[in-house]
């Protein structure tokens, strides 16, 4: 019966491994070594060969199901126990926890105990008594009867020292005593177990429990020795650093399979905890070096440190952890591992909310391990590469922190400066650590900002320029380049100096690189202004002519640029360009939003446009274009201060071109519109000239009179009135001329020549003037000449002429007197009148004007001739006889002949006074008179000539 069941078990066991044999070509399964088997379940054939037959396909669950069925159906206690053992082994080995496949522990214990009792009751010798004791110990322990369990185990240990279950029994005994805090007995059994050299994992666990037991027994050094044994099982521990997972450490060695031992990593971890507890509990500060020495040497210092830190962290003693770590790290020459510890210290501060200390610790880290540390300087490239992230992250945090702190300072204090410089330093380190990073530019830019805040303007400028132009990936390169300019400006202002050369270069660089910067327009304007202040006008213009490329410039800036450009053109006499620029500026200004100064600016621009147009007109060579330019100014900007000058100048051009019509129109417009202009007087003078030149004498006369009446210049007024009178006179508007002369005559200070002319007018044109007596005027005229003693040529000529008028009048009076009876009386009257006539002609002669001399002489001669003739033809007395009449006639002849001789003498005088070449009608008349009075001598006709007989 039993063999049959055994065969069944073997069969089932074979089935349980069939699962793993499917892929094997030989269908051979290595089930392990029979020598290692310690329980029934471990006894299995070495080989099960299925050379000819395909093994059955059975899952482990199927096998366990069959064992479960066997366990439940077996009547024999041994079979039941074996089935139970097999089930437990399979479940443990394959991790099958399925309830219907396993046996409930309570049922199991009950079965074990009842089976054990049955075996005892049978009184038969049971070959596996040690196993029974062991199993019942387990079962009683499971049932809560620890002491009974201990009794059975101690029985097993005592009765079966060679039992294969000895290690398990010792283990469970030690454990039970340890659980009961009976540490001396626990120590005893642990030590016994340890001496048996169990499997490595059990050995490690035993040492671990020994350590704890020794610790409980206050044998700290021994405990450390036990811990040292554990530590030696993990060679990686000395290089593990602070944070690596214990589970990742390789544990080499056989494992005790039947005992449910904790994982080696857990054992190690708790050993570390114990280590920390022991070291921490020692007097004074934890001495890592000593503890490490107890464990196995300096190579275990990091393990000790880690253990302590984990311990402190578990107890939330973060500050102590950090302090301990920092103290350890910074007391040593820097190395890669210490950097890791330094980071752990920072983390500890953080976890304990000791943030300030955390930042301080970061600063220490960078000081010792950062870019500027000796460590970094000596590190090779690989090391640097490994540590780069840690160092740069910390540097970045510090940079940002200091930067933020810098910004948080409301005023420029020493503290702010310190933060700023720190931030700058860290950012620059970052930039060096990541020379080609996308963030490098940003780091440099932030460094520049910090340097600026820290008062390091020179360096800040360099960094701004670097971030602005050299770091192409910088997101703030434009802002940075601009910031450099601002600093240059600040620097120059502080020195009260004009732009430095670097400032200028940087500005030009900025404008070339970033024309689309929002401040580019303003910068360009400032640059241009600066260049202008240094007389570099063309350089300034070079910027301004390309101002459109500063697309972000504001309307106001574009206006300023256009105006500045135009001003420069204007000042360098490039008026055409200036005008275009001013109009452009005006267009911009008109599009700008309404502002209080807009009207003023537009007004100023209009003034400039006017000035420029005026200058263009002045330089224009073509007369017509010149005029049109002047007129465009006047028409476009009639209120411009040069508008009047423009129209005046346009008229002047027309005058030069003898375009009288338009010139007069322009000057008339000028006179109407610009009555307050200082050019009014000159414009009127020009208008008079134009009228005169164009033949508009009436217009000229009117303007002249207007000028005479309005001018403060007395001389000009008098001359104007005189000229006006002359124009009226030419136009035969004698009454108007008379008005002008009358106005003139009464003026005080009148030049004698003008007065002479005015007075003469009334003589010469008395017939055309109503109410004017020619003789009265003539007399007045001569009195004027004589009273003023005027003997100039003009006065003499006019005097002779006027005197001749009076003389002729006297002569006419003389001729009008008839020699009637009584003859003597009438002769006397006529003689008297002849005398007056002669005197009057002598007055003419007194002026000694050639053209009047012959007339006067002739008329005097003719008067004598007339008297002689009148005497001879006078009325004869009545009642005379023929003889008396003849005698009377002889008497008359005696009277007449001397008079006639006088007449001949005067005629002869007249002809002898003739000048060579003089052709004078009065000379001719005198010759004619002489031919009559003395024909024998003067009646000599010339001989006529004949026509030409040949054609020549």
């Amino acid at each position: 019966m039993i063999p049959k069941r055994l065969l069944c078990i073997v069969f089932l066991f074979g089935l349980s491994f069939a699962q793993g044999m499917q892929a094997a070509e030989t269908f051979t399964i290595n089930l392990g070594s029979n020598e290692d088997a310690k329980k029934i379940g471990d006894l299995k054939p070495k080989f099960i060969a299925y050379d000819r037959k395909t093994p059955p396909e059975a899952s482990i669950e199927y096998v366990m199901k069959r064992y479960r069925a066997l366990f439940e159906s077996a009547q024999t206690p041994e079979i039941k126990i074996d089935a139970l053992n097999r089930l437990n082994n399979l479940g443990a080995s394959f991790g099958v926890k399925q309830k219907d496949l396993n046996v409930d522990p309570y049922v199991q214990n009950e079965v074990i105990l009842s089976t054990y009792q049955k075996i005892i009751d049978t009184g038969a010798e049971y070959q596996k008594m040690d196993e029974l004791l062991y199993q019942t110990a387990k079962a009683t322990a499971f049932a809560g009867d620890i002491l009974e369990s201990i009794r059975r185990l101690e029985l097993l240990v005592a009765l079966y020292p060679d039992s294969s279950l000895m290690e398990e029994a010792l283990f469970r005994l030690a454990e039970n005593y340890f659980d009961l805090a009976v540490f001396d007995k626990a120590l005893k059994y642990y030590q016994q177990l340890a001496r048996r050299k169990p499997a490595k994992n059990l050995k490690m666990f035993t040492d671990y429990k020994l350590a704890w037991t020794q610790y409980r027994l206050e044998h700290d050094l021994k405990a450390l020795g036990s811990i040292a044994k554990i530590a030696k099982l993990f060679p990686e521990l000395t290089k593990a650093g602070m944070t690596s997972d214990y589970a990742s450490f390789e544990f080499k060695g056989a494992q005790q399979r039947r005992l449910d031992l904790p994982k080696p990593s857990s054992v190690l971890q708790d050993s570390a905890r114990l280590l920390a507890i022991i070291v921490d509990a020692a007097q004074g500060a934890p001495n890592i070096q000593e503890a490490a020495a107890s464990i196995g040497g300096a190579s275990y210092e990091s393990f000790v440190l880690r253990s302590l830190n984990e311990h402190y962290h578990k107890k939330k003693r973060y500050y102590e952890s950090a302090q301990l770590t920092e103290g350890y790290v910074y007391a040593r020459a820097a190395n890669e591992e210490l950097l890791d510890f330094a980071g752990y210290a920072i983390q500890s501060y953080k976890e304990g909310d000791h943030l300030v200390d955390a930042w301080t610790s970061k600063a220490k880290l960078i000081e010792h391990f950062g870019l500027r540390s000796d460590f970094w300087a000596q590190a090779n490239l690989e090391t640097r590469e490994r540590l780069l992230t840690t160092v740069s992250d910390t540097t970045k945090e510090l940079a940002h922190l200091n930067f933020v702190r810098m910004q948080q300072q409301k005023s420029k204090t020493q503290l702010q400066i310190r933060y700023a410089r720190q931030a700058a330093s860290y950012y620059l380190q970052l930039a060096t650590l990541w020379p080609d990073s996308t963030n490098t530019g940003e780091y440099v830019y932030l460094a520049a900002q910090a340097l600026e805040a820290g008062g390091r303007d020179e360096q800040a400028i360099q960094m701004y320029e670097r971030a602005g132009y050299e770091e192409q990936t910088s997101p703030n390169k434009k802002a940075s380049a601009y910031a450099a300019l601002l600093l240059y400006a600040k620097k120059d202002r502080a020195l009260e100096a004009s732009w430095s050369v670097p400032h200028e270069e940087s500005t030009m660089r900025f404008l070339a690189a970033y024309p689309d910067h929002v401040q580019a327009g303003a910068v360009a304007l400032r640059a241009a202004s600066e260049l202008v202040s240094r007389q570099l006008v063309d350089e300034a213009l070079a910027i301004l002519v390309e101002y459109d490329k500063y697309v972000m410039s504001s309307g106001a800036e574009r206006y300023d640029a256009a105006k500045l450009k135009s001003d420069l053109y204007y000042n360098t006499r490039r008026y055409g360009m200036a005008l275009i620029g001013y109009r452009q500026a005006l267009s911009i200004q008109n599009k700008l939003p309404e502002k209080s100064d807009r009207v003023g600016k537009i007004s100023e621009l209009n003034t400039l446009i006017g000035n420029t147009t005026y200058q263009i007109a002045l330089t224009e060579q073509d007369p017509e274009k010149k005029v049109q330019l002047f007129l465009s100014l006047e028409q476009e900007l009639p209120n411009h201060e040069l508008a009047s000058a423009a129209i005046y100048d346009a008229a002047s051009v027309d005058i030069a071109q003898e375009n009288w019509l338009r010139a007069s129109q322009l000057l008339e417009v000028f006179s109407e519109r610009y009555t307050a202009s200082p050019l009014v007087g000159e414009a009127r003078a020009k208008l008079i000239y134009v009228y005169e030149q164009s033949g508009d004498q009436l217009g000229a006369a009117e303007q002249l009179m207007s000028q005479a009446q309005s001018s403060d210049d007395v001389k000009l007024a008098h001359n104007s009135a005189y000229k006006a009178a002359q124009h009226y006179q030419d136009l035969r508007l004698f009454n108007d001329a008379a008005d002008s002369y009358r106005w003139l005559i009464d003026k005080p200070g009148l030049e004698l020549g003008l007065k002479t002319e005015a007075l003469y007018f009334f003589v010469a044109f008395s017939e055309q003037l109503s109410g004017v007596d020619k003789l009265t005027e003539a007399d007045a005229f001569l009195q004027h000449l004589e009273s003023e003693d005027l003997d100039d040529a003009r006065s003499a000529t006019l005097g002779a002429e006027v005197a001749l008028v009076l003389a002729n009048n006297e002569r006419q009076n003389f001729e009008a007197i008839k020699l009637d009876l009584p003859f003597r009386a009438s002769l006397s009257r006529k003689s008297d009148q002849l005398r007056r006539t002669t005197l009057a002609y002598e007055r003419v002669l007194s002026f000694e004007i050639e053209e009047y001399l012959s007339a006067a002489r002739y008329n005097m001669a003719y008067s004598y001739q007339t008297l002689a003739h009148d005497i001879m033809n006078s009325e004869q007395p009545k009642g005379l006889n023929e003889l008396e009449l003849e005698q009377y006639q002889i008497l008359l002849e005696e009277q007449a002949i001397p008079v006639e001789e006088q007449a001949i003498a005067l005629h002869k005088l007249n002809v002898t006074k003739r000048k060579r070449g003089q052709v004078d009608p009065y000379i001719q008349k005198s010759y004619q008179a002489l031919a009559i009075l003395n024909p024998s001598l003067y009646q000599r006709p010339i001989k006529e000539s004949s026509h030409a007989p040949t054609i020549y």
Binding site: Q924, H947, A948
Partner: protein, 206 residues
């Protein structure tokens, strides 16, 4: 000397000189001395069409007979043909003078003296026109020019004697012309010689 005359002479001399030079150069071996600059003896006159001459002679005949209208028509026809002649202009001036149109007469006579300064008749009529205008000095000049051309011109001497005696009061000059007139006036029927002799006597008292 009239300006036109001088101008023509200068031009002629220039042409001759140029021609001589050219001939000299062309002649090579021939030794031809260029003509020295000389006062031209004669003016370059337009070619006279015989028909024109006939017309002129007809006009002179009409003038001789006092038919001034016919003469004028003929002379105007001549004037409209190519080429101007001093004699034509002289006679047109004479007709205007007799008609009392002093301005037209002056115009024609000026043209006549310019066309041919050697036209004695033109100068005589110019002197007469000047006397009409009581321009005694101009008359004196004109008559003297006539005498330069023909020193035996009686009218000129007579009129110069009167002009210098009465109007210019250059008695010695008047005496010269009176005396020259008497020398030349051989016609016993000339009534003026008797008067001239009286005037010479009167001159002695001046």
């Amino acid at each position: 000397m009239p300006p036109l005359f001088i101008k023509v002479c200068v031009r002629l001399v220039t042409v001759l000189a140029s021609l001589s030079l050219v001939l000299g150069l062309q002649g090579c071996q021939k030794t031809v001395k260029p003509q020295a600059s000389e006062q031209p003896k004669e003016l370059v006159q337009p070619v006279l069409d015989p028909a024109q001459l006939v017309l002129f002679e007809q006009a002179v005949e009409a003038l001789d007979n006092g038919r001034f209208g016919d003469a004028e028509k003929l002379l105007v026809r001549l004037e409209q043909k190519p080429g101007k002649f001093s004699g034509v202009q002289t006679n047109l001036g004479a007709i205007a003078l007799r008609r009392g149109d002093a301005a037209i007469a002056k115009l024609y006579l000026e043209q006549a003296t310019q066309l041919n300064p050697n036209n004695k008749h033109a100068w005589l009529l110019t002197g007469e026109l000047a006397m009409l205008n009581h321009d005694y000095d101009a008359a004196n000049d004109a008559y003297k020019k006539a005498l330069v051309i023909d020193d035996t011109e009686l009218t000129a001497h007579f009129n110069l004697g009167v002009i210098n005696d009465l109007y210019l009061m250059d008695y010695s000059e008047a005496e010269i012309h009176y005396e020259r007139y008497l020398e030349l006036a051989t016609d016993s029927k000339d009534t003026n010689t008797k008067q001239v002799k009286i005037w010479l006597k009167l001159l002695e008292r001046k």
